[in-house]
Amino acid sequence: MNNRYVGLAIALAVMVASPRAAGQQPGAADTVGGCPAEPLAFHTCALAKAKTFRPPRTSSGKPNLQGYWRNRLAQAFSVEGVSGSEPLVNDLVMPWTLAPAMIVDPPDRKIPYQPWAASIGRIGENYAKYLDPRTACGSGGVPRLALQDPNQILQPSTDDYVLWLFEDHHVQRVIAMNRRPPLGDAIKMTNGDSRGRWEGNTLVIDVTNLNGYTWFDDSGNFYTNAAHLVERLTLIDPDTIHYEVTVEDPKTYTRPWKLVWALVRQKEPGFELMEEACREGERDVSRIREGGYRYYFGESWRGR
């Protein structure tokens, strides 16, 4: 089988694969925020730039991350990148685009899966047997929400919360900056519980209480309900955020690992987020399910 969901309406393929969603424009400039347009090179360069850049501040003196943003250096096919040897590159319905890995650590730029998990993620069992949770109109989850479609950061002047809004599925993340205690372990949520703090000029967000129902990408790369994510957002110039996620999940990986991409300011005059609600469901889901694809409800669903 060359492509999952074979025989689907082209409309769906267009929705999932649109350049807007994938965030990769052919012929785009080869620098982002004055850094090379390759995730690892960008990462090294951006961290160096962040040391000397003095970000604009809010009226209360915090780094001002507010505005509309869109991903660069990211794609939704695979966080491990897409190489020329990947058969899906030649797919007739929905060819994948060649792309470097967004993983900057470990050095081999692969997800350090434990042996049992490697055959489930990485275009494995998840890809072959399960419906991509995002296609089923579930939330893209963290961090995938930030690499699909534009998003917006709001910082109320009271400094007690940061609100992150996403056009993708029209959902929100409330990031508590008020040092509230963690949530009880029995409560799991698709987007988890987010607690933030400022470390110098960087917004650091701890995400816990994840239900593990979401994927990183179209390839079915995943974490479980034991995952702990740490996101770091740092302005490296007035219009570019270095976005980094450290992923920890002792049930799934042999060590923590790290993803990086850029969030670039949307500067079109009058730009606003639109409503892409999706709650009414994707009409092709029933046809995909007739093809044998099952709903994905996390690793625990398989009875491990």
Binding site: A136, S157, Y161, L163, L165, T190, R279, G281, Y295
Partner: protein, 256 residues
């Protein structure tokens, strides 16, 4: 008995408080730019999500006094027929029962908390129900032009003294006002008024206009109460996901 008496006193204080505080407007909490500070986690304490009008108890539905001024809705005759059909078929016909976004104004009075955030240019509302969100632009921009059908409509707000006044258009005809089948067309036009009536109460008022369904405008109003629990926060209720999960579980049992 004594316990009941104490509750009665508490209720009286709860009711009297907003009026008293409204009289001394200067004591209202304000943001750095001097606007009334509506931020926080809020929730209604009423039965409007089931029925915005007076209704007796039904199985699973608490009895309730309506939130509609004068109780009656000025339906056009043919629309009233449709409302009655909706009521009869409500268990499966209510779009909310399918996991869709409840739309406005219904999401404001679902029995779930929501959180208000304010910046200079926005009042944003994040909902626990369905992880929904609405952005009310307060930067003076007009509604976008065109034929737009959004579940949550398009909200543009302005401050009139201590009241946030919000104009909402660009709806779908796919949402209802309540589980009782009260409905509207995609020509729905809302004007909402949020008035901070004290540190822990907002008076919320909605004027509804929809010439295709109603012969004239009508109004509903209700208090929003601040959630005061220590450590309170928005959790997640995702009806579509929960429905899919139940269906998957049924299929799993069948194949066993």
């Amino acid at each position: 008995m004594r316990h009941g008496f104490m509750c009665a006193i508490a209720a009286a204080v709860l009711v009297a408080a907003p009026i008293a505080a409204a009289a001394q407007g200067s004591a209202l909490p304000r943001t750095a730019d001097g606007r009334p500070n509506l931020q926080g986690i809020w929730q209604v304490l009423n039965t409007a999500a089931w029925d915005i009008q007076d209704h007796q108890a039904r199985l699973g539905v608490p009895a309730g006094q309506g939130v509609v001024e004068g109780n009656e809705l000025p339906y056009r005759p043919e629309a009233l027929v449709k409302k009655r059909q909706n009521f009869d078929n409500r268990a499966t016909a209510d779009p909310e029962s399918k996991g869709y976004l409840p739309g406005l104004p219904r999401i404001m009075y679902m029995p779930f908390p929501f959180q208000i955030f304010q910046t200079r240019d926005h009042v944003a509302v994040a909902f626990e129900y369905d992880r929904g969100v609405r952005t009310i632009y307060t930067n003076g921009t007009p509604h976008p032009e065109g034929s737009i059908n959004w579940w949550m409509g398009d909200s543009r707000g302005r401050w009139e003294g201590n009241t946030l006044v919000v104009d909402v258009v660009h709806f779908t005809d796919q949402t209802w006002f309540d589980r009782a089948g009260n409905f509207h067309s995609d020509g729905l036009h809302l004007v909402e008024r949020f008035t901070l009536a004290g540190p822990d109460h907002i008076n919320y008022e909605v004027t509804v206009e929809d010439p295709a369904v109603f012969i004239g405008p009508w109004k509903m109003s209700m208090p929003l109460y601040r959630r005061k629990e220590r450590n309170v926060r928005l959790l997640e209720y995702d009806p579509g996901l929960l429905m899919d999960e139940e269906q998957a579980e049924r299929e799993r049992k069948k194949t066993k």
